[in-house]
Symmetry: C2
Subunit: 332 residues, 2 copies
């Protein structure tokens, strides 16, 4: 049966087509069980389009769906039977080992906190996002779960990010950087100056000091910690910059015959490049610090991104990420 | 004689060659006087390489130079005869109408604050940076002068940015956005939620609400306000993203024959693109809120960037940016 991953079948912008296909792809690819959570009729209807012989895919009915624009607190209060809530309760009751949703991020976070609760010693669970860099991949957290943070929260983010980078990203001794302005310890704002001292004193971390905005995509640090406001702005700026550069370069290439011929010849490279910067491909963002493996996917996820997230969740379970975080926090 | 702009001749990474040439280019281009401030012998030696007949370029001796890595407070205390200090005192004494430096940014800011002081009602002068967008150009402030801000500082930044966009960037009714996470008023951190209310209530501003990181390069707002920590990280991420995208696209284009041929044909487009994203070309960053027109240039400035900054400073003087800021702050 393997690891059991519950998937919010109702959550993607493109609907059931994407989630069900992602589940089928992941179940074909490795030994695991996918529990599709949502409207039973719609899911089974959609599943018939695929050859599922020998695959371990089951359906768990959830009659309600949380809309993308719905207020997380309202969803939490009113929709006790939503695919998000039902999926998270499977994790709580031990019927699933992890949960994935490409739905309303705020609702997933709020419901996970209420249903599963935080890990011992973790005051603020954080969303961690993998970004491509010139050297490979780095993990940035918090990416937006906590707009206002204390220095000790940043230390907890660092410990959780360190575990994820070791166990899932194949980095045996990840470097940890603090996102700030200026490299010296004295640079930064009140929050980062205080956090710097805590990070420096933590013996379990390979802390390399402040990392400036320019360094994020250079891959200077494997794990980059920041408050959720700064992290969210940083990551959205990278998204916007990718769009800006692609569009303006295309426009420039369209000017003049040589440029147009060049653009035509370079089309394959452009496609590969787009994939490189499309970090939804990396398989979702773990919500670290709650009692369970939770991965949040972009609303615009493709079936491939969903399948990657299912694989990442299974790896988190099998590599005991939660247990390692509990240990890391306990000794810090 | 025209407007008189003092230029720190000693401040650029590439040395006197860049600053003196920038001065010559600007003085040829429009009716103004450039006061080159620094080592008299070195400057006059360098000036001999250019035809300066009929140009209004004068030299003001300053025996000391502030290094790029020097502590601003030490420079302020110990180097009373630095090119930065002497140049700013020319502005203070009315011998120059504006001052430009590509030197140590911290030292320019600290010395400007001490020498000239802030404008009435301005608690925190801010560095404003022009970024290219899909729609043209936007102004982001504060770009790093103030790591920790209060909500009322952000309101002052908005008023100063609004004046600059009107008077210098050719935007008669600039839209003003607050850099935050999420579009709704309720989204953001403590600082931005409070700042939102102040911005909304200010009748002189065309405030369009929160602007997310993704929107910065889309050109959604003409003026984007934020604290200096967030602004600095945002701008450095854009710089790093430009490097990242250029390098990874070049690498992708290098793969395979078609890509290589494409890259060769597209070389001109690449060069134009690089210029588009190299915002040092835009002529430096005004330090808004001090008693005088001050423009800070990137250490890596070219002669062209210096010439552009001299022109921008002359425009600030001629369009009475300082007086407009005083008025704007007074009625807010």
């Amino acid at each position: 049966m393997g690891t059991r991953i519950a998937l919010d079948a109702m959550g993607a912008d493109q609907g059931l087509g994407v989630t069900v296909e992602g589940a089928v792809v992941a179940a074909r690819d490795r030994n695991l069980t996918v529990v599709l959570v949502g409207n039973e009729d719609e899911i089974s209807q959609r599943l018939k389009q695929y050859r599922t012989n020998g695959l371990s895919i089951v359906i768990r009915h959830a009659p309600e769906t949380v809309g993308m624009q719905e207020s997380p607190s309202a969803a939490l209060r009113k929709k006790k039977q939503s695919s998000i809530r039902v999926g998270l309760e499977l994790v709580k009751n031990g019927e699933a080992d992890g949960f994935i949703s490409a739905g309303n991020t705020g609702a997933v976070m709020a419901t996970a906190l209420v249903t599963l609760g935080p890990l011992p010693g973790v005051e603020r669970p954080a969303i961690a996002i993998i970004v491509p860099t010139l050297k490979g991949r780095s993990l940035v957290l918090d990416a937006g779960a906590n707009a206002d943070c204390k220095a000790r929260h940043l230390l907890q983010f660092a410990i959780m990010g360190d575990v994820y980078a070791r166990q899932i990203m194949g980095k045996p001794s990840p470097t940890v950087g603090l996102l700030s302005i200026g490299e010296e310890e004295s640079k930064g704002n009140e929050l980062t100056r205080e956090a710097f001292r805590g990070l420096e004193e933590e013996p379990s971390l390979n802390f390399i000091g402040n990392v400036e905005g320019r360094e994020v995509l250079m891959g200077t640090a494997d794990v980059i910690v920041c408050d959720g406001f700064t992290g969210n702005i940083a990551l959205k700026i990278i998204e916007g910059a990718a769009e800006f550069f692609t569009l303006s370069l295309k426009e420039e290439l369209g000017k003049g015959l040589a440029g147009m011929a060049g653009a035509l010849l370079a089309r394959g490279a452009f496609k590969r490049f787009k994939k490189l910067v499309d970090y939804s491909e990396y398989g979702g963002a773990p919500l670290l610090g709650v009692r369970g493996v939770i991965i949040i996917c972009h609303g615009r996820s493709t079936a491939k991104a969903i399948a990657n997230a299912i694989r990442a969740a299974a790896e988190c379970v099998e590599n005991r990420v939660i247990e390692h975080i509990i240990e890391g926090i306990a000794v810090s």
